[in-house]
Each structure stands twice: as structure tokens, then as C-alpha cells.
């Protein structure tokens, strides 16, 4: 079942074209990784999906409802965590968590709340004004995961967390997924996206330039090979190979996936001693799309 569907979203801020036809689809129980460089349009897309910004054109629906018109209904089943969380400095973390829960119209599930507070090692009795960025983020994360939402929208939610807390965060996302909930996770941390996400959308300059399952995307990219042969290899003239490093008869190279067959056939003629292949990391995939790009917007 499709939880979220967006088609041709555009957004103009004065002269700045922030989004230029964004398409997205998230299914139930799916974790959708949303990646792209700074200023690519991730937050803008997310704010449109939240009905906070109005799209200049295009359509988007969540749970089959229009994101702008039916925002209130949608929000009853949705939890959002922004990347830069600012809270009310005179309220304690615990008060803020309870406030969010009450605003959702839910009873406060004390056990669930305490459990999350424990796992994130948050001191909920402190005033928000005294929290560090990471702690404010924890407050937002605890309120989000304490909510019984069907869709979690997380916009770079771990930018202030230490690696230990990031692990806790990842567990929470996995648990939500196991319960059949959907998650949109915008992130810079590719290992995180790789570990958590089923589907990935890559956005650049307001356009989704690549999307699909991690499997799908890997087909579009290169495989890392480590080859040791008996006799010297002549790699010149082979199509689709990159970044060759030679050390005696040991070679390290990247091969475009569509030319893998041809390369392996060629290599096997020289007597393979050792062959290691590694799937491309998201990092590679990402870098390949952004080679030569300093940022999203000139």
C-alpha cells in the first residue's frame, strides 16, 4: 500500500527555484532514504509534505489525503523531527515531550516514554534552555518515537548525536519498520541510509535524479574489484574501467556494472590467482553523481 505519493512538486522562493519536479513514493513498512547535498531541496520537499509550505505546482498525498488541504488529519498519524531543533527554553524536556503527545491527542504512555528516555540517556528534568543541540534533538526524537505514528518524517535527525546515540536511533527506526510503519529519512550519513533504508532517492538541484531500491541503484554503478593474476594484464582499451591501481600483478579497479561481464572474461585469460569484488557503497554512488559538484546551487 502506498503511504506517500508525490508527483511533479515544484517550489519557487522568489527567483530561486528550490524544487523542480520532485517525484516520490513510499510504501507501507518501507524506510525511504532521502539523500542529496546541502541546498538540494530535501528540507523544502519535507516541508511541503508536512503542509507547512505550499508547493508552487505538483501534487502530494499522504495516507491518500492532500498534504496541504488535509494537513491536520495527516498530522494525527505522523511524527516529524527536524535537523535543527529549538525548544521552549523555560520548559523542561519532559514537559515538551508530554506537550507533543497531548497535541497529538494521545494519552501519555508512561512506560514507552520512560523507556525511550532511558535509551537516549536524556535528563528530562532539565530546562530546554540548558540543553545542547544533541539533547534537544533527543527530546524531539523521544517525542516522535513515543508517538504511535504511521509515518515518521526525519530530516537529518542525527546531526547532533554521538555514535552511541546514533545506534539507538537506528534501533528505533528498525523497530518502527518491524511494526509496519513507514519512515522518510533525509540524511548525509550514507552508512546510516545504507543500513536502514529499503529505497533511496537522490536529489540534486531540486530534482530527484535517481531513485529505487539499493539493489536497483547498485546496478547503475561500479563494482570494486581486486584482482591478482599470473601474468600481467593489459587493461588498455577495455570499456568501463576506472581508477586502476597496479601493484605488481595485483590490480585494484572499478568497473561499470554493465561492462562487468566483458572485463571478467578478459581478466580470466591471464590466469586469476585471486578475485575479490565488493559491492559499491552508497558513498561511491553518491560521489559518482556529484563528481565535480561543489553543492546543490551555484
Amino acid at each position: 500500500m502506498v503511504v506517500l505519493h508525490a508527483e511533479g512538486l515544484t517550489k519557487q522562493f522568489g527567483k530561486v527555484q528550490a524544487l523542480n519536479g520532485v517525484n516520490m513514493e513510499v510504501k507501507e513498512g518501507e524506510v525511504y532514504g532521502f539523500i542529496g547535498p546541502n541546498g538540494a531541496g530535501k528540507s523544502t520537499t519535507i516541508r511541503i509534505l508536512l503542509g507547512i509550505l505550499k508547493a508552487s505546482s505538483g501534487r502530494a498525498s499522504i495516507f491518500g489525503k492532500d498534504v496541504w488541504r488535509d494537513a491536520v488529519d495527516i498530522h494525527k498519524r505522523l511524527a516529524y523531527v527536524p535537523g535543527d531543533v529549538n525548544l521552549w527554553s523555560s520548559l523542561t524536556g519532559g514537559e515538551v515531550i508530554d506537550f507533543f503527545t497531548k497535541m497529538r491527542g494521545a494519552e501519555i504512555d508512561k512506560k514507552r516514554k520512560e523507556n525511550l528516555i532511558d535509551r537516549f540517556q536524556l535528563d528530562p528534568t532539565k530546562k530546554c534552555g540548558t540543553y545542547s543541540k544533541g539533547n534537544r534533538q533527543k527530546v524531539a526524537l523521544v517525542s516522535a518515537f513515543a508517538a504511535d505514528a504511521d509515518l515518521y518524517i526525519l530530516d537529518e535527525p542525527t546531526s547532533g548525536l554521538d555514535p552511541l546515540m546514533e545506534r539507538v536511533f537506528q534501533e528505533c527506526v528498525m523497530e518502527a519498520k518491524e511494526q509496519g510503519k513507514s519512515v522518510i529519512l533525509s540524511s548525509h550519513i550514507l552508512s546510516e541510509v545504507e543500513r536502514l533504508c529499503d529505497t533511496v532517492g537522490i536529489i540534486r538541484q531540486g530534482e530527484i535524479i535517481e531513485s529505487g531500491t539499493l539493489q536497483d541503484l547498485r546496478h547503475l554503478t561500479r563494482t570494486n574489484l581486486l584482482i591478482e593474476t599470473k601474468t600481467e594484464l593489459t587493461l588498455q582499451g577495455l570499456p568501463g574501467i576506472h581508477d586502476v591501481q597496479q601493484d605488481g600483478n595485483t590490480y585494484q579497479l572499478q568497473v561499470d556494472t554493465e561492462h562487468l561481464d566483458q572485463v571478467i572474461q578478459h581478466v580470466s585469460q591471464s590466469g586469476v590467482v585471486k578475485l575479490e569484488s565488493a559491492p559499491p557503497t552508497l558513498e561511491d554512488l553518491f560521489m559518482r553523481h556529484y563528481e565535480g559538484e561543489a553543492g546543490g546551487v551555484k
Binding site: F13, G14, R47, L50, G51, I52, L53, K54, R69, D70, A71, V72, D73, H75, K76, L78, A79, Y80, P82, D84, V85, N86, L87, W88, S90, L91, E95, F99, F100, K102, M103, R104, G105, A140, I153
Partner: protein
């Protein structure tokens, strides 16, 4: 969907109350307390009708009208009439300040820092946040109106009946609601909370000045100012309610426009576009002093312009004042009236002292910026570069001193250019200019005090309270007959009023020394304490 625009406004209102209950109560309590104390003091100091008529006679001139508003019932100056004349306009101005500060906290500030985004991501109506803010301001001002009204009535003073007292309270309340609506509107226009505060204060100040000029020169002009409307209720004299209703209606219209604009704009956007900043720091900004100045440039320029206008406004009524006193002198030639010149001068020195206190506000704000920078963790970046702490704060001090010069000069120029234009004979350009400039050292005392609090890292509010006290001394010192020792607590009182009295080098020198002492103390404390952020 229309019905959902304000969904959850109740819970958001409670959030505002939870955040601001102390603040709101403190404001209301102060207004009520000060109003009641003043009435008691008037009743005590001017207990007989004769005494009150005597005071009324001195109040009946254009200068005073410009300063505190038109007097009603001057021929039968009751305690109530006196209260409405002496206190109401100034209290309205401060009620306006309260509304501006409270509204901006919950609208543009929250929006700027992403809290409104969090609220909007919850099942809340699109207008629930601004709606809750306006609703809470309405309740706050109704409470202010009722408590003040009942409180004044409860004093049991003959001339202050229930109707008049409630009207007095209502005048405060409706002004609060009006400026809450104005601020809500400004919050739709500019993208930053600083911008909203600046714009709202500008409207507040200009409204007051328009009334000042209007009351003296042209009645129609006063009708362009909400102060003009509300004061037209002639509290405790004729007790008209219609100006209150009219102001309320206009406030509701303004609030409606604010809500409409809020509904049609993007979160985070404003209708007045902001221009992009510079890509590189100019050579100037690469120095720490330069950077500090650069960061305060907009604020310094705006204040300088405002003070110039302020000075020019009061300068421009000097002509009417002089003409008025000249007329009186003709009529009452036999009486031992002081000369025209000295009557006008009396007013000039009072205006000069008030302007000096106003000019001190941006000077103190300038040093208190350190505290704000510290709160937002920006100091670390600067202190991490090679710059010692006393030097760091010293730069702020230097910028504040430069600010004080700019402020005093621009206010003095406003007063003397406009004044010299309209005054025939009694006062010269340099008289007017010097009248303000002599107060510079007094403002440095306040600056030094502010620096001490920055050094201590707390109690900033006390410095503002002290500035407020100096204002009360100047403004009400005469009419409330404060004892000398109380007056002497204000540095502005120790400056001799040029051009009435001769300039005193000794007192100027002593006050400057006190200022320097406080500054050194501030730098010393700052070196010893922890930086919080």
C-alpha cells in the same frame, strides 16, 4: 477546512500561559501598582482644589501638551483629571511596549527558531499559533483593564468613580490589544524578530510623536494616531467610551489582516523581502572592532534616525511654546512671571534630559549584545581566535562609546536644527545642541553599570530598571515632589541644566570618573568569570 484553521488553539494558549505567566503577571502587577501609587501620591500632595488649580495653570502650555498630551478639565482639576492628564499617555506608551515584546516572542521569534514549524507538524490549525498569541494578549489586556479599573475605583477618591476608573483601565487594555495586533501584522511583514521589534517600535514611537505634534499644531493630525483616539476618551472628565470602541474595531481589522497574511504566506517568509548579505568580509569587518560595529550597524543607524526625528519633533513645537509664553507675558505683565526665554528654556532642559535617557537605551543595548552572543554560543568562535577577554569586552565598550556619541549628536542635531528654525529669539542653535550633549557623561554611568552586569553575567534587568528610575525622576520628579536624596540617585540629576545654569566642569568630571570606575570594574569581573557558551 476553514473550521480547522484554529484547531488546538486552546492547548497552544495554555502553552503560552505556561511560558509567560510570570512575565504577564509582572507586567500587570507593575502597571496596577504604579497607577495606584501615583493616584495616592497626587491625592496626598495636592489635597486641596487650590493646590491642584495651581499645578493646572503650569500645565496649560504647548510644551507640556506635546510631552504628556492634552489636558481635559484643567479649569476644575480633580485628582482624576490630573491622573488622566499626567499619567495616561505615558502609561499607554509602556502598555504598547509590553504588547510588542510579548507578541513577538510567540510569533516571529518562535518562527525564526523553528518552533512554529514543530507546532505546525502536529495536528494544529494553520492559524492556531498566531490565533493563540492574539487570544492570550486579549485576555492579558482585559485582565490589565479590569484590575486597574477596579483598583483605581477601590481607592475611593471622590473624583474617580467606577465608570471613569473602568474607562481608564479600558484605555490601557485597548491600547495593549491595538499594539498586539500591530505587532502581529509586522510579524507577517519582516522575516526576523529583530525586524518585527524595530518596525513595531517605530510605529509606536511615531504614533506618539504624531499625537504630540497634532495636539499642539493641528488637531486633525492627532486623528492619525491611536494615542490621539484613546486620549480622546477624556477619562475622569467627560468619560467617552466611543474612542475605546473605535480603537478596538480598528485593532480587530488589523488583526484580521495579520491573520489573512499569515494564512497566505510561506512559513519563514515575510512580505518585505530581505536582501542577501555580502559574500566576503570587508577589510573593516575582519577586525574584531570592525566586526562588532558591522553587526550593530543597522541598529545604530535606525536608532540615530529615530532620535533625530524625536529631537526634531520636539524642536518643532518650541516655536508654539515660545509664542504661547510671549502671549501670557503680555497678559500678565504685572505678575512676577519669569521671562519668555526662561520658560521656554525650562522646557528645553526637560526635553533634553528625557532625550538623553532615550539615547542611553541603544548605548546599553550595544553592550548587552555581548550577553546575547554568549547565549548563542557565538563568543567561543571569537575568543578561540587570539584575542584576550578584557580586550574582547573592551571592543564592545568602545563600540558602545561610539554609539553614545552618535546617538547624542543625532538627537541634539534634530532638536537644534528644528528648534533654531522656529524659535525667534530666546534660544540659539548651540544652546539647544549643548542642552543634550552635556548629559553624555551621565549616559556613560549607565553604560558602566551595564558593563558591570555583563561582567557579572547576570542581573541585566537591574540596569534597565535603573534607567527606568532615572526616567521617572526626570518625568515625575517635579509633580510627585520626590525628596532630594531620591533624586540624587540619578546621574542625570547631577548634570547642570545648560543653558539655564552654567556648565559645571566639576560635576561633569566627577560623573565621568564614576563612569570610568564602573567600566573598569565591569572589565575586571568579566575576566574572572566563566564564559557560558
Amino acid at each position: 477546512m476553514g473550521s480547522q484553521l484554529f484547531l488546538q488553539i486552546g492547548k497552544l494558549s495554555r502553552l503560552i500561559l505556561r511560558r509567560d505567566r510570570v512575565r504577564i503577571l509582572a507586567w500587570i502587577f507593575s502597571f496596577v501598582l504604579i497607577s495606584l501609587i501615583t493616584v495616592v501620591a497626587f491625592d496626598d500632595l495636592y489635597s486641596s482644589q487650590d493646590e491642584r488649580q495651581e499645578i493646572a495653570a503650569t500645565m496649560e502650555n504647548p510644551a507640556i501638551t506635546a510631552l504628556i498630551g492634552k489636558g481635559y478639565g484643567l479649569d476644575h482639576y480633580t485628582v482624576g483629571a490630573m491622573m488622566a492628564h499626567q499619567m495616561l499617555a505615558m502609561t499607554l506608551l509602556i502598555v504598547g511596549i509590553m504588547s510588542i515584546l510579548l507578541v513577538v516572542r510567540h510569533t516571529r521569534s518562535d518562527e525564526e527558531e523553528g518552533r512554529v514549524e514543530l507546532i505546525r507538524s502536529l495536528p494544529t490549525g494553520r492559524l492556531a499559533n498566531i490565533g493563540a498569541t492574539l487570544w492570550m494578549m486579549t485576555l492579558t489586556n482585559i485582565a490589565l483593564a479590569l484590575i486597574t479599573g477596579v483598583g483605581l475605583y477601590a481607592l475611593g477618591i471622590e473624583s474617580m468613580d467606577l465608570n471613569g476608573s473602568l474607562l481608564y483601565g479600558a484605555a490601557l487594555g485597548v491600547t495593549g490589544i491595538f499594539f498586539a495586533a500591530v505587532t502581529a501584522l509586522c510579524a507577517q511583514l519582516t522575516e526576523t524578530s529583530k525586524g518585527v521589534i524595530g518596525l513595531s517600535f517605530l510605529i509606536l514611537g511615531v504614533s506618539y510623536l504624531v499625537r504630540a505634534v497634532g495636539d499642539v499644531t493641528n488637531e486633525t493630525l492627532s486623528w492619525f494616531s491611536p494615542f490621539g483616539w484613546v486620549l480622546e476618551s477624556q477619562v475622569y472628565v467627560n468619560d467617552y467610551w466611543w474612542p475605546i470602541v473605535m480603537t478596538l474595531v480598528v485593532a480587530i481589522v488589523i488583526a484580521g489582516v495579520a491573520l489573512y497574511l499569515n494564512a497566505i504566506r510561506d512559513l519563514g517568509a515575510g512580505f518585505i523581502p530581505t536582501k542577501g548579505g555580502k559574500r566576503h568580509a570587508s577589510r573593516f569587518s575582519q577586525h574584531h572592532i570592525g566586526l562588532t560595529l558591522r553587526l550593530q550597524k543597522t541598529s545604530i543607524i535606525s536608532w540615530a534616525v529615530v532620535l533625530f526625528i524625536f529631537g526634531a519633533t520636539y524642536g518643532s513645537v518650541l516655536g508654539d511654546t515660545e509664542a504661547y509664553f510671549a502671549e501670557i507675558e503680555l497678559m500678565k505683565e504685572v505678575m512676577q512671571q519669569p521671562g519668555v526665554g526662561s520658560m521656554t528654556l525650562q522646557f528645553v532642559t526637560m526635553i533634553a534630559a528625557i532625550m538623553a535617557i532615550f539615547s542611553t537605551i541603544p548605548v546599553m543595548m550595544s553592550v548587552f549584545k555581548v550577553k546575547k552572543e554568549e547565549k548563542q554560543n557565538r563568543i567561543e568562535h571569537v575568543l578561540a581566535t587570539a584575542i584576550s577577554r578584557p580586550k574582547f569586552l573592551g571592543h564592545y565598550l568602545l563600540v558602545a562609546l561610539i554609539t553614545s556619541l552618535i546617538m547624542f549628536v543625532s538627537g541634539a542635531l534634530g532638536l537644534s536644527i528644528a528648534g533654531a528654525n522656529v524659535i525667534e529669539e530666546s534660544v540659539s542653535f548651540s544652546d539647544l545642541f549643548n542642552a543634550i550633549i552635556v548629559y553624555l557623561p551621565a549616559s556613560w554611568v549607565l553604560l558602566g553599570l551595564a558593563l558591570v552586569f555583563v561582567g557579572l553575567g547576570r542581573f541585566n534587568g537591574l540596569a534597565w530598571l535603573y534607567l527606568g528610575f532615572t526616567f521617572v525622576i526626570i518625568y515625575f520628579g517635579g509633580i510627585l515632589k520626590f525628596p532630594d536624596w531620591v533624586k540624587n540617585l540619578s546621574p542625570y540629576e547631577h548634570i547642570t541644566s545648560v543653558p539655564i545654569d552654567d556648565f559645571s566642569i566639576v560635576s561633569t568630571f566627577v560623573i565621568t570618573l564614576v563612569a570610568i570606575g564602573l567600566m573598569v570594574l565591569g572589565l575586571y569581573f568579566y575576566r574572572r568569570r566563566d564564559i557560558k557558551g
